[in-house]
């Protein structure tokens, strides 16, 4: 039925099967859209956030998708700026995943603010001292760059490509893509960092506060580093999932292995830096404010020291050691484990740097406050996942010749 749109020379599943798949994922998407509309029309009372949890699941989701979406900028940087040609087989997919992640982040932010119609104030009345302002500017600019990087992929569609204007536009955009990749990498370095800065500058919150270099707390650099390190793992993970679901080899092993190797070394250096940061914070910064390390991980029913061990040792050092060894990268199971752990680790880091900050009592006469999201928050957080799956199904697997790469 849609054969006129499918690229020549590739085999696709029957249209009814495709539509059934889209319908199931689409139902989840609609559930999310319903929850989103509830939040917009009825307000944030639809959530389980409260005055102790001004930041909650959504901010975590934002930080997490942007971190894992970091694969787009780092792969782009390696491919176009450092000339790692082997990565050409995975760059388009990395761009698509980045596009999904960043558009999702913007959507979640639009739901998360109390007065969505005033969202533009962040640009119009910008406070240049606020890390959130930097996030908003860089995020929007980088989303623009990713859109520019994504457009040529759409233009490769058989029917669109027949129009001479679009054919030439797509060709010319490909030619100048290195400029956008470099711009994207520059922007991404800043907003990944400023997302880390969002927590690190909170000097009233001893669990979050970090010293740093000039105006940038150490979390600024750690967030950039971890996104560059773990983002490519997410790109590999999604590629592997897509290959498993479609039962097709989509990306050459050499491209995956090169990305895995670079990622492994980045994770190792990151996790060493993170360990040093944690040690300094635990022994110098927090004690100077009257807090011991044990305080942050006790007297509550959820946040134990396990979360720190899980983040640094199990989801940090383990994937790093797997990925830096040739044997680990070549072993399919080990590679799966490594990329899953790395992605879990970076998401966990974002979780503690949002949710645990809110949970820790600072006044001596207050207690730990825990939180569980409402269904509206969960649905709107799953919404981008469903949207991403649909976009991948349409873009990558069905109508665009990306999978020919």
């Amino acid at each position: 039925m849609d054969s006129a749109l499918i690229p020549r020379g590739v085999k696709r599943c029957p249209f009814p099967q495709f539509i059934l798949f889209i319908a199931i994922v689409g139902a989840v998407l609609l559930w999310g859209v319903y929850a989103m509309l509830l939040c917009w029309f009825k307000g944030l009372n639809q959530t389980n956030m409260n005055d102790f949890y001004g930041f909650a699941l959504w901010i975590w989701a934002d930080l997490a998708v942007i971190a894992v979406g970091g694969g787009a900028f780092f792969t782009g940087l390696l491919r176009y700026v450092f000339g790692k040609d082997d990565l050409k087989n995975i760059i388009n997919y990395a761009v698509l995943i980045g596009f999904i992640c960043y558009s999702s982040a913007l959507l979640i932010l639009a739901i998360d603010i109390g007065q969505p119609l005033r969202g533009w104030f962040i640009f119009w009345h910008a406070n240049v001292h606020s890390m959130l302002t930097e996030v908003a500017f860089c995020l929007s600019c980088y989303f623009g760059v990713l859109t520019i990087e994504y457009i040529p992929l759409i233009l490769e569609n058989r029917q669109i490509d027949k129009v001479p204007f679009f054919h030439h536009l797509g060709h010319n955009m490909h030619e100048i893509m290195a400029v956008f990749a470099a711009t994207g990498a520059f922007l991404s370095f800043f907003h990944q960092g400023s997302l880390g800065g969002v927590a690190g500058v909170l000097y009233g919150r001893p669990f979050a506060y970090r010293e740093g270099l000039f105006i940038w707390p150490w979390t600024f650099f750690l967030f950039t580093w971890s996104a560059a390190a773990c983002g490519p793992c997410f790109t590999i993970l999604v590629t592997k999932i897509t290959e498993t679901v479609t039962r097709k080899k989509l990306v050459k092993d050499s491209a995956v292995e090169l990305l895995a190797k670079i990622s492994g070394w980045m994770i190792l250096t990151y996790i060493i830096a993170k360990s040093v940061d944690t040690w300094y914070w635990a022994t110098v910064t927090a004690p100077s404010q009257g807090f011991s390390l044990g305080f942050f991980y006790s007297n509550n029913s959820f946040y134990g020291i396990w979360i720190l061990i899980l983040e640094i040792a199990i989801c940090g050092f383990v994937p790093a050691f797997i990925l830096i060894t040739k044997k680990g990268r070549k072993n399919s199971t080990a590679l799966w484990i490594a990329v899953i752990l790395a992605v879990t680790g970076v998401c966990l880091n974002r979780w503690v740097m949002v949710l645990q900050i809110m949970a820790v009592p600072v006044l001596t006469f207050e207690n730990w406050v825990l939180y569980f999201p409402s269904w509206q928050e969960i649905a709107t957080t799953i919404l981008p996942v469903a949207y991403g799956i649909i976009l991948i199904a349409i873009s990558y697997h069905r109508y665009f010749p990306m999978s020919r790469n």
Partner: protein, 272 residues
């Protein structure tokens, strides 16, 4: 100390006098059109610009001791003046530090509800309007015309009754004066306290009671030199302009966090 031109309005709360009656909270809510709901049982959703905490020393009878601690916005000076935790983080300049008065204000029509300021405030002095305010029938007639009610989706907090400052300035101007007298600008909670536990005034003015009570050290961001005075979470460097007085050591120590090696007393237990 030489009297500076710029004011630094602040508050001193004598915890030995506070009886926990809650008059300050009621006066604050009435004065500032603070919204409320039918069911206020979830205190994490209640808007209380001024909240009274109940502290105990955690000791069994007959050594039990309690203390009520009213907590307005601290109007922090920050690590250097004008940089309280909340002001520098607001992405839209919707909260402002007034150098002339030292008051941290919230611009409700500018706030777009990102709640970053709430995340930054260690005192939980900032509140989000999760709902639009709904006043019981007829109550809208009793709202203060000097304070704009807030809409759903924005953050609000104690303003040190800034509208009273504006009214007092207007009156002084009409009378050809530039300076306010100490009693011309007082917050609603100060006036409502039956025990006289709350004192308000200019911390920079040595003639004002607040200055005499805590003797702020200008070389250390106003740290009190009165041994019975303290500020909440002094060690964080937020430099609040709300001071507390107590003759009881356990109360003073409850104002900040200490490592076990530093702690001499049992940790304070809070009963809300």
């Amino acid at each position: 100390m030489k009297h500076k031109k710029a004011k630094k309005y602040g508050m001193v709360i004598d915890l030995d006098k506070c009886t926990g009656c809650g008059s300050c909270m009621v006066a604050c809510m009435a004065e500032n059109n603070v919204p409320f709901r039918k069911d206020e049982s979830n205190k994490h959703l209640s808007i209380t610009w001024l909240r009274v905490y109940k502290l105990t020393n955690g000791k069994p009878f007959p050594n039990t001791d309690i203390c009520y601690l009213p907590r307005p916005c601290m109007h922090c000076e920050g690590q250097h003046e004008g940089h309280p935790p909340c002001v520098s983080v607001c992405p839209a300049v919707a909260t402002d530090y007034n150098i002339e008065t030292g008051i941290v204000s919230q611009i409700y029509t500018r706030c777009f509800g990102c709640r970053y300021c709430m995340a930054s405030c260690p005192y939980h002095a900032r509140y989000f309007n999760w709902w639009d305010p709904v006043w019981p029938d007829g109550m809208e007639k009793y709202l203060s015309p000097n304070v704009s009610p807030r809409m759903r989706g924005v953050v609000e907090k104690c303003s040190f009754c800034y509208h009273r400052y504006q009214l007092a300035k207007e009156k002084a101007f009409m009378e050809g004066r530039r300076e306010l007298k100490e009693d011309e600008y007082q917050t609603a909670c100060t006036q409502a306290c039956p025990a006289g536990a709350i004192t308000f005034g200019d911390l920079n003015n040595p003639n004002h009671a607040v200055h005499r009570m805590v003797k702020p050290d200008p070389k250390h961001h106003g740290r009190p030199t009165n041994p019975n005075a303290f500020r909440l979470l002094e060690r964080l460097g937020t430099n609040p302009k709300v001071y507390y007085l107590s003759s009881r050591e356990w109360v003073r120590r409850a104002g900040d966090n200490y490592l076990e090696t530093e702690a001499k007393l049992k940790k304070t237990v809070h009963h809300s």
